[in-house]
Symmetry: C2
DNA sequence: ATCTTTTACTTCATCAGTGAAATATGAAGT
DNA sequence: ACTTCATATTTCACTGATGAAGTAAAAGAT
């Protein structure tokens, strides 16, 4: 894995050169966009690497975590799609895989029988409890040298960015 | 597309509930991690949507931009792999596709005949110049309400995070 | 000079995710 | 009752990315 440092340096140089030709280019904003994508990509790679020993991918992990975090340990495919930003097709596949491993159950909903209720099993809870703690040191390391205010700032800016993205999507109803 | 706002609220609630059970959970850091992944995922979706009309995906776009930004408009697959954080296999496929569209050329390197030199064509440059400007308003909108100091802060924090991730990868020579 | 190792890229098989269309079922509105 | 809408699953075709093995050339070792 190539160090991000180098990758980021190349990006900086590239943007500098391009903005000499294309003067209208919003260099600072473009840099921020690329930084976001580069850094988070590495974060995701890192996470997937940690999940691999447990034979879970990112989507499956998110699904498990979401279920685990719910008071009653259950949800529906539709809700999971929204949360995990997955298509319904993929959600079905994920649920199939997790059911097969005995980590969740699928059952018809009593009130609205169109719905399917997905519930985390005891084995699922055990898996989450087993795999989560080893993740903590890595997360700590990522933000180890972030002061309290650094953390607050980053959270604030990311939430602000999220709000702007929501605005953008609204005006681009694709 | 579900609004990020809602997705983020669910995440906040989830982390709050989990950290009541798992007290060791570094809640602030976990929140920052998830925020990064959620927000950048949406950014990437948005970008891919803008690229689609030009029949480019993210990797291909990165490749084109990297070539375009180089003084001589050329590079090698290996270098591109590093920059775009792609496997060599994927790079081959990308190059195939771009060559087929006449956006780049592939040629054997004279000095080292293992190497392949990839070069952007005039058509490739035209495409970049055509597709880039329409992207600017969106990037501007994303960071529109970011003050100068907001932008500086975000860039600084992301670069710091990148450095920490590099540290992490070093100590995990997978 | 030959043998081995390393580097650079490609090929092939496969997996993960997406989008669209078809199906089944049930709820809600008139 | 009848239409319309909502929820979820299945199938199929497709895109994008990856891992393992293969090829070819350069670099290094003996």
């Amino acid at each position: 894995m190539a160090p991000l440092k180098q990758c980021i340096r190349m990006m900086d140089e590239g943007i500098a050169r391009v903005s000499q030709v294309l003067v209208q280019l919003p260099a600072a904003e473009a840099t921020l966009s690329r930084l976001m994508l580069i850094v988070s990509r590495r974060m995701e790679e890192d996470l997937e690497l940690q999940l691999k020993p447990h034979r879970l991918n990112h989507s499956e992990f998110l699904t498990m975590m979401f279920l685990y975090s719910r008071p009653d340990g259950s949800s529906t495919p539709g809700e999971l799609c929204e949360f995990a930003a997955q298509g319904a097709t993929n959600m079905t596949r994920i649920a199939n895989a997790l059911v097969k491993r005995g980590l969740i159950t699928r059952a018809a909903c009593r009130e609205d029988r169109r719905r399917v209720v997905i519930r985390i099993t005891a084995a699922g809870r055990r898996l989450v409890l087993k795999m989560l703690p080893p993740l903590f040191p890595r997360v700590d390391a990522m933000f180890g040298d972030f002061s309290e205010t650094d953390q607050r700032h980053l959270a604030r800016l990311l939430r602000k960015l999220a709000a702007n993205l929501d605005q953008l999507s609204e005006h681009t109803p694709s």
